[in-house]
Symmetry: C2
Subunit: 362 residues, 2 copies
């Protein structure tokens, strides 16, 4: 026997695995727990899917997704060779851990953040260096989620900055990312899954930094969570290397058609983003009125700190009222709820339910 | 610096990556190079895709693909808990290498076979133990692709048997798989991507062996190569462990709908498989008449050995005539062409082109 007793590698055997946000089976609930866009995808997406020829299903899809890469290159002001199509942004994250990290090559990221990162670190067997944000400063409002200074000196092969960050909604300026990429020896992956709702993107950095990868998702800004489509932006050398660890045909023909139609309809996209931002401002203000501490968000969700109640109890009582938000039972988040910005009427139902739950705010 | 000089891990930096079969841009060529089914998917698939609600695209898909698992469980006589949905069979292969193999835990498989296996072994950094089929015996017709006896004693954590095998089309009896699973200490993955065209499946083994995983693909028998959908069958413990190394939402809403509709239309599926088998027999016989050595195939392709000509030259001359087959420049395959069984008129065009190329057979 050339291996240990179990069928699985030890760190897989021990792992709990990533637990995705609950997906309620019913569609009549107020679902503000997994940060979907409240608006449907562009009508052009629906048209494109209905027009798919059976021949496109029968044949293998374009392995590199040329049509999407050309459309995304035009939108982002880069070349198609700077783009790699992925089966959701999560695939790019997995590919980055696979390509850059192993037992001798660590990953580093500020916490709290997207809880998939440590799961992926465990799978490839690399050290996960978690550098805390100065969370205590959160109530001060400014600078509480600046990049921790120690992040630049971890020696990690892969440093990840979720920007805007989940679940805090906070945003790090692009100059800060540039400084970080300049200081580290490894690769910096900027997880911009939520950037469509923020003020700026770091995409311009890929022409001057050979160690920056920008991750994008079509799930949030483009309302395509169901289609699993993300992409990476980086210099050509990084893109070619990442391709080596990717499955042969990562995205299917329908996802390619849908994502391409979505990114080509910039007008529809921009209008939806503006509507979400407007509701975000209203929701933030209303939650503050109800006594929550809500930091400014650059994303399509807000993180609400419960000051006079227990967050997990509010969460449970919201579920009883068919309102789903996200509660993370983790250090620094025990007293907070992450709430997706929904349609105006969904946000109203949430606020109404909270008023019922918190008698003092009636 | 906690890592070596390059951004990438050394074995990724050195790797060439997997090269998928050429996908010609034009659709008027005779494409017999990547083993697609020549018939379109079931009309019910097309209907199901056209009927997808925008809401299905907007929301995250069912992470576990319950609807498909229930349909596939009924077809295979197992429970839904014995099934895992994957973004193509290739994803299940990658997951198996990730879950079972590392620098101390090897993978083993008979060769020649699917050339993705060594690529995946390199990515996870495990030893790839390649055990040759007794290829010299191939002309004898019988027994040339029985499992090599040494395969059972490699000490590998993962042993893969591609069955029917690509690119040979040969088939190993299910009793042989059972004997292998009984002898090895690790997991046996039976890659049944092509089993729809064979005589039997090993699926019954999963109830008595806790170390057998059956891989299935919807690309071949169900004409859905463009939709990237495969699945695994195994006991519940293996399925749950594999889930830990899988992306959160591996298959998109359209792929789920398409695969479910396809597997529910067993009548259409069986009729197409029979048509392919009939053409396979005709193609095999015609190629033999033209002087090729063609072993019996249990798949939707044939492996044709060129006796009086150079296989790579025949390949090139076929390309000049807009006929694409697959040539592998690898040991034991230099003198052979892998030819997908196409529609009758496609096979006729292939045979006609070969008659032109090989003057002696005119």
């Amino acid at each position: 026997m050339g291996f240990a007793m179990g069928y699985f590698r030890d760190n897989i055997e021990r792992a709990a695995g990533y637990v995705p946000g609950f997906q309620p089976g019913r569609s009549d609930v107020v679902k503000l727990n997994t940060n979907e866009n409240p608006y449907p995808p562009s009508p052009q997406v629906i048209e494109a899917i209905k027009a798919i020829e059976p021949e496109r299903l029968r044949r293998y899809p374009d392995p590199l997704g040329r049509a999407f890469r050309e459309a995304a290159a035009a939108v982002n002001g880069v070349g198609p060779d700077n783009i790699i199509c992925c089966n959701g942004g999560d695939e790019l994250l997995r590919m980055a851990f696979t390509a850059f990290c192993d037992s001798g090559r660590a990953a580093a990221y500020p916490v709290p953040t997207y809880t998939l990162y440590p799961v992926l670190a465990n799978i490839v067997g690399c050290e996960a260096i978690e550098v805390p944000f100065p969370l205590g400063a959160q109530k001060a409002g400014e600078g509480e989620f600046n990049l921790p200074a120690k992040l630049a000196s971890t020696g990690a092969a892969l440093t990840i900055v979720c920007n805007p960050n989940a679940p805090t909604g906070s945003f790090v300026k692009v100059e800060e990312i540039a400084l970080l990429a300049d200081e580290v020896n490894g690769v910096v992956l900027v997880d911009e899954a939520y950037v469509d709702f923020a003020e700026e993107t770091g995409v311009r950095l890929i022409s001057s930094f050979d160690n920056i990868i920008i991750l994008r998702s079509m799930s949030k800004g483009y309302s395509l969570a169901g289609m699993r489509f993300g992409y990476g932006l980086a210099n050509k050398t990084l893109i070619q290397g990442l391709r080596k660890v990717q499955d042969s045909y990562p995205v299917d023909a329908a996802a390619l058609v849908a994502a391409t139609a979505a990114i080509e309809d910039q007008e529809y996209f921009r209008a939806n983003v503006e509507k979400v931002k407007t509701e975000r401002a209203r929701l933030t203000e209303a939650l503050r009125q109800l006594g929550f501490n809500v930091a400014e968000s650059s994303s399509n969700f807000v993180l609400a700190q419960c000051k006079h109640s227990k967050a997990n109890e509010v969460y449970e009582k919201l579920v009883e009222r068919d309102v789903y938000v996200r509660y993370f039972n983790m250090q620094g988040l025990e007293d907070k709820l992450r709430i997706t910005v929904g349609l105006a009427q969904q946000n109203d139902r949430l606020l109404e339910a909270i008023r019922e739950i918190l008698p003092q705010s009636k």
